[in-house]
């Protein structure tokens, strides 16, 4: 399974996603503002909760160093997310082997959600390559368009779209037996 992107996708600070940039911030304020989204991004990218914790923690170390060098740096979600993303791909590139994470990646949000469907989606998401999981996260959970995804990561809109299509097809296949039973 291909789950590692080449280094050329690791880009510099991104333009803002949603969320205002912060100035004169403390690390605690930045974590309060962005921590949950960053962790969720890392969780889906890495499909491993412990690895996601490491990535977020390391990102904050790097962020603190950046702020130490340039106290006036303007920190947006995109800025920190880029650091998290680079940490995630570094972890994937190093192929740090971890024990299969038994903890779920997703939880039920709406009353229509079922535990059976959650388990199927959880397993199907884990089985996707990282770059497809990432596009699913950005499209579905961050609400970005393919054009925005392409712009942020320096890939073509077709590449962004095809990653999503492959992921969507796999998820549909995983869900179809469930649907037929529902």
């Amino acid at each position: 399974m291909r789950d590692v992107l080449s280094a050329d996708v690791l880009v510099g600070p991104l333009p803002e996603w949603s969320g205002a940039a912060l100035t004169n911030h403390t690390l605690a304020e930045l974590y309060d503002e962005y921590g949950q989204r960053l962790y969720r991004y890392a969780v889906l990218l890495l499909a491993n909760r412990a690895a996601a914790e490491d990535a977020v923690q390391e990102a904050f170390v790097q962020l603190a160093r950046a702020m130490q060098k340039r106290p006036d740096v303007v920190v947006s979600f995109g800025y920190v997310a880029t650091i998290v993303r680079n940490e995630c791909y570094t972890a994937l590139r190093k192929r740090r082997r971890r024990a299969e994470d038994p903890e779920p990646l997703i939880e039920r949000e709406s009353p229509n959600a079922t535990e059976e469907e959650r388990m199927i989606l959880d397993a199907a998401l884990r089985a996707l390559p990282a770059e497809q999981r990432e596009v699913v996260y950005l499209k579905v959970f961050e609400g970005l368009t393919f054009q925005e995804i392409a712009d942020r990561f320096g890939i073509s809109i077709n590449t962004a779209g095809s990653r999503y299509r492959y992921a969507a097809d796999a998820l549909r296949r995983a869900l179809s037996p469930t649907r037929s039973r529902l």
Binding site: L27, R40, Q57, S110
Partner: protein
């Protein structure tokens, strides 16, 4: 199932929340490693300053004239018959003397 239906299905779920202590541990790690990073840079900066000092002063020894050696070179060149070739040979033959350096005094000198 089309894309809209798939996305609606996915949005019935949410990605898990971070553990409650992740913020504290991330901030503690950042603060601790930033401190050590700063100390590391301090040591590196001190080493760089020291290296620059030695480089600057080692270079400054070179062009300073040594009248005694110049006289020796001229003497040897004369013995060798004089001329440019003799002078070049004499320059090679007569060793350079390193000046006595009082480190404490040198540190006080302006750059």
């Amino acid at each position: 199932m089309n894309d809209e239906e798939l996305e609606a299905t996915l949005r019935r779920y949410r990605l898990v929340d971070p553990p409650a202590d992740l913020g504290d541990s991330a901030i503690a790690a950042a603060e601790a490693r930033t401190r050590s990073y700063g100390h590391g840079w301090g040591a590196a900066a001190a080493a760089a300053v020291l290296a620059l000092w030695f480089a600057a002063h080692a270079a400054s020894w070179e062009p300073q004239g040594d009248p005694a050696r110049d006289a020796e070179v001229a003497f040897v060149a004369d013995i060798l018959g004089g001329g440019e070739d003799a002078l070049r040979y004499a320059e090679l033959a007569v060793p350079r003397r390193e000046p006595d350096v009082d480190l404490a005094t040198r540190v006080e000198e302006p750059w």
